[in-house]
Structure formats: structure tokens, C-alpha cells
Symmetry: C2
Subunit: 394 residues, 2 copies
Amino acid sequence: MSKGVTFARGFRGAVAAAGVKHGVPERDDVAVIASDRPCTAAGLFTTNQVIAAPCVVTRRHLAAGTLRAIVVNSGNANACTGEQGEHDAVAMARAAAALVGSTPFEVAVASTGVIGVPLPVERIAKAVAGMKLSPDAGESVARAIMTTDTKPKLAQREVTLSRGSVRLGGVAKGAGMIHPQMATLLAFVTCDADVDAPTLRAALGSAADRTFNAISIDGDTSTNDMLLVVANGASGVTVGEPDLPAFTDALTTICADLAQQVVADGEGVTRVFEVHVRGALSDAEAKLAARTITTSNLVKTAIHGADPNWGRILAAAGRSGARVDQTRASVRIGDQAVYADGAPRVFDAAAVRRIFSAARIAIEVDLGVGAGEARAWGTDLSAEYVRINAEYTT
Amino acid sequence: MSKGVTFARGFRGAVAAAGVKHGVPERDDVAVIASDRPCTAAGLFTTNQVIAAPCVVTRRHLAAGTLRAIVVNSGNANACTGEQGEHDAVAMARAAAALVGSTPFEVAVASTGVIGVPLPVERIAKAVAGMKLSPDAGESVARAIMTTDTKPKLAQREVTLSRGSVRLGGVAKGAGMIHPQMATLLAFVTCDADVDAPTLRAALGSAADRTFNAISIDGDTSTNDMLLVVANGASGVTVGEPDLPAFTDALTTICADLAQQVVADGEGVTRVFEVHVRGALSDAEAKLAARTITTSNLVKTAIHGADPNWGRILAAAGRSGARVDQTRASVRIGDQAVYADGAPRVFDAAAVRRIFSAARIAIEVDLGVGAGEARAWGTDLSAEYVRINAEYTT
């Protein structure tokens, strides 16, 4: 089992049950990730204009300098909670700061759950005060931040750089409201390299663009999305200029691992499909087309039903805003060419059914106008998704 | 019962069973709407870059001058069918032209159904050749163009202008792939006024913007969307300058009637909700926010489950691209203020449940930044939608 955020040296974690959602402690719903020394940090936040209080507070704390801890609760998003919400997020930071012996400004705060309900911050603070940090809490932390996730999501990786080896570990929670820009609710990566904040920011931007920002479950961007990476230098290994590609690559691998776990565990998801768009006027247009295909309810339901109704794929590309030349476009599903050079092909419908019935599906679309390309990952839309989301707050 | 497209003088209709979808005639799936004299005409077509052959052909015929007939088939969209698709659409026009005694250029062609399957055009042409036009075929035409619609959609209206009264009648089919821009698959309005084409175009643009372009079922814009209005002058009443507002109003009423029928009969729809966005920076931003809310799967499933999870409404507005000031925004569901002046309100959750359980729901969102406003109509997302769309081609 992966040790997640406690894999890197100098990091510990703790969890507690505060009864955030229903007032009664039922399961662990508060977690702290702590470093034994100050960390450089970088973060990416929701692009939603309705921003949850913890995102506002954490962005402020990141700008102020180093971090010592991350405190997270599930069951309540502390979003659309007005001025009180910000006070509550700061109070969470204060509680975690007391636990790790830092200032509140050195604590990042994250929340996930129901929007618009005041946070039961006293219960959370009390739960944090009673915590015991442990180097073996990686999996418990992953479980405590889950909402409708069915599985904890952890990743770890050790990579050898020019001056020695460093460790990276990560945790994520997803399930619903998973969509670019920034396709995760919450993800935290810890690292024991000695790396400055600007380098960390550059590596994180590059890693996110090819991982978390290319997945979609339901097209809804949350108010609480947050991806943080913290580095505490406990390995004694400094990331120098020549190490940048390897370091970025390791971070990208961790993010890709977590992003794939998020998409595979999307609400009601039974299948994951990859859309590779080529022949677009630009990479940006390819991305637009790929994302539109992965979020089309008609494509998602066709894949759920293993229905070889490929016209919906091309139609989704056509409405995406990306330029398409339908007289030169082509569509492949797995190894089946269903549309090529502007005309439908005779294909083996039974074969396409089999391809669509697999847990992972590859779709290739050529827009026939240029050399731009991009990949995106989506999920099928099931009756189970509807059931989960029709009954969320209750 | 409404007479639909045969309500206006000088229009007749006919239907036939050609076995378009499965090769075996099961139900009427081809329809012709004919005028006993040439009509001025105006049309709006899909904005999807993957445009079905009938849309291409009809646009060309509209540009060439007057129309005498509209020929429509259901069961096959004749989309993504390459060059052959255009030949087939022209062949449909030729068959209808022979029936009404006009040139093929005076025939509009429309198709709806599965994408990417060659059109069985010989069967359609043969069915058209055997048709008998009748002034009582309004409802049969409405039934013949249905796909997954559960009800035929007809509307009619008589309006008194300065020089006499004129009649307008309409028919539409919807069900899936219903989304602005141009939120209908197919809609045809016939009218016995004497009105020139530029006037007709202006009136249609205005009518569509407030009706068909403000509804959404699943966010997917079809390759085949087509809204046509034809006017044959059989009433002997000319639409003069002073009649324009009344004429546009009558056309808007017909379109609104049909659009509301389309949205209420959306695939798996049990509830329709209206979103009224105010306080936006501009009407355009209000429209963006209203449409994003009506297409959010999370909002749609919450309404389906009568779940008072209003935060999803504000979160959808926040990701729409419209500017939102969350410290001044407010959200009302029916008569319940759930969020006001930047903070959540204590509200009666049971009352919101009751409001969400009604067949029609009113939601008001104030973005708190300006004076722009717009309305949009959406539907809940049900497990039944998933079932219908997972099994469409089979």
C-alpha cells in the first residue's frame, strides 16, 4: 500500500471524527498533514468566480511564505458562507497551527462537501486539538478527505536526481464536480526535496496541465478545487537546474496517477474513455474539442450503453468551437475506423460494442484542418450518477 | 386539437411510412408540408460545424428564392454521410417537387435521427411519390417527424393586423440534443400572410432568440437543427410596416408554445425549471450564467431529486464566465430566499423540496454586479434520460 503524503521524509499526518456533516461523529472527516520543518509551497485553485473561503485563505497564506501544515475537512465545503466562512477557515488554520507549533499563516486550509451550510468550526477545532501526528497516517488521511469517493487515492514515487534521491507522495479526493479548469476537488503532494517556490510553481503548472486539467466527470467546476505541493528539504537534496526535467516528470507522474484514480472513481462511473484529438488548427482547439467530447452527455450515455453511435462524437467536436472540416475528418474507436475522409465507413458494430464494453476505451478524432493535438479523459454517464447526485445533501 | 402547419390557408400535408430506421415500415416517418402557391421563407440552422446534408441543401434552396414544400424524414439524420448525403438530400427534394409540381430548388429538406448511417433515399422517394396531400394532415405531420418525442407538438394562432387577419401554424420535434444555439431539432411554421423575406427573417431572428435559443435539455447542439418559417400570402393580407410588432409577437408566441412543448417533452424529463438571472454586467453575461445553470448536471440532478442543494446553482453561475460578486449575490428558489447579500439564509428546506417537486420551478439568481438580465429554461436529469440515450441506435 502506498504511504501517500507520509512517504516523503519529515511528513506526518493525523485524522479525527468531528461529525462535520450530520453533527454526529460517524467517520474520520478531518485530517492534518504536517511537516517537521517549513516547506516551500505552490498551489492551483478553482477558476470558479464563486470561490470557497478556504481557497481564499490558503491563497493568502501561500503568498505570505512557507507552510508547515495542511488542514482539511470533508462533509462541508465552507463555500457561499459569506464573511463568517472566512473567519471559520482562519479558525481551522489556528487549530492546526497550535497542533504543529507554527503560526496560522503557515497552514493551508481545504474543505470539501455541501455548499452553503455554515461550517461547524468548533467541532473541527476540538477534533484537531486532540490529534496525534503519525508517520503512518497516509491512508487514513486519504480516507478522511473522501466524500462520495469509493476508494482512497494515494500515490508515491522516489526519484534519483543529480545530488541524491528524493521522495514524493500524494493524496486526492474527487468523485463529483470534476472538470477542467482544474479537475480535482482536492489534491496534496508532499516532497522532501529542497526546492524553491518559483521552481515548484513552474513544475506544478506543467504537471497539472497534462493531468488534472485534462479529466472530466460531469463538467462542473467546484468552488473548492485546490492542488497543493509542499517541499520540506528533509532529504537534504537540492533540486538544481539540471534536475528540473526529472523533478517535473516525477511530479507529473504523481499527479497523473492521482488524476487517473479520480476519474476511474467518478460518481457512478463504470468506464473511462480517452479522447485523442488530432488534425486541429492548434493544440488549444484540439483541447477544446477533446474536452467537449468528454463532457457530452450524449457521448457519455452512448458509451455507458455500449452503443456504437459514433455520430455523437463528431457532432460534439462540431459544436465545440474548434474548426472541423467534415469532408476530411475521421473518427476511430479502438481499432475500428468508423468515419474517414469525410464519409462513414462500414465497420464491425459488434466489435465497437465490445470496445465500448471495456473499462478503458480509446477514441481518436482527426478534425482534418491542421496539426494541433490534445488528449482528454472522460467517463460514462450512468443512472447511478443521477441517483448519487439527486440525493447528495440528504 | 391544433391543426398545426395546415391551420394557415393554402397549406396541406401528407405522411407515409418508408421504414427509414429499420427497413420495415413500422410507423409514418416521412412528411411533406406543401403550399398551393410560392412562399417567401426564412430559416435558422444549426451552429454545429458538422452540418447535416439537409441543412446544407435547404440553406442553398432558401438563398435561391421561394419555397413550395418542406420534406422531412425521421429515423435517420443524413448527417456525417459525406458527398452521398448531399445527393440523397437533393433526391428527397426532387421527390417532393414532383408531388407538388415545383422545381427541386423550391423544396426545403430536413432529417432527424441517427447520425452517420446512409439515408435509404429510394424508400423515402417512393413513399413521397405515393402521398396524397390533405388540409387535415397537421397532426399526422407532427407525429411523423417524432423520434424519441412522446407527444406530437403543434401550435396555431390567428392574429388581426391592420389589413385583416392572418393565420400561423407550427410543428416541432425535440426530445434530445436540445440546446442553444438553436435549441430545436426541427420546427416549421407556416403562415398565410403576404410578407417579404427580409421581414420574415427579422421576425424569425427575434422570435427564436427569446424562445428556441433559451431552452436546453442536454447541452448538445445537433448537426440537424432547423427552424423554418414560410409565408404564402393566401390570406390576401399584406404585413405592412405598422404590423411588424404584432406579426413578430404572433410568431414569437407560436415559437414559445412549441419551445415549451419541446422542453417539457425532453428525454426522461419530469420537471422544467426557469432560471431568471439578474444583476449581471450585461444581458449577454446574464444569458451565459442562465444557460450554464440550466445545463449543469449537478443542478439538474438536484432538481430531479428535489434536493435543496442550492449551492450548486451559485457554483454553476460562478464557472459560467459571467462576473459574479459573491458578497452581493443572491439566490431565490420559488418564494424562498436561500442566499442573499453574500451569505446563506436560514430557509425552509421542506418548502424548497415542495417547490422542486412541482412540474415547473422558478429560480432567480442575482449576480450582484450590474443590471443585465436573461431567462433560460432547463430540465431535470433523470435515470430515464440515461436509459434512453444509452440505447438509442438499437
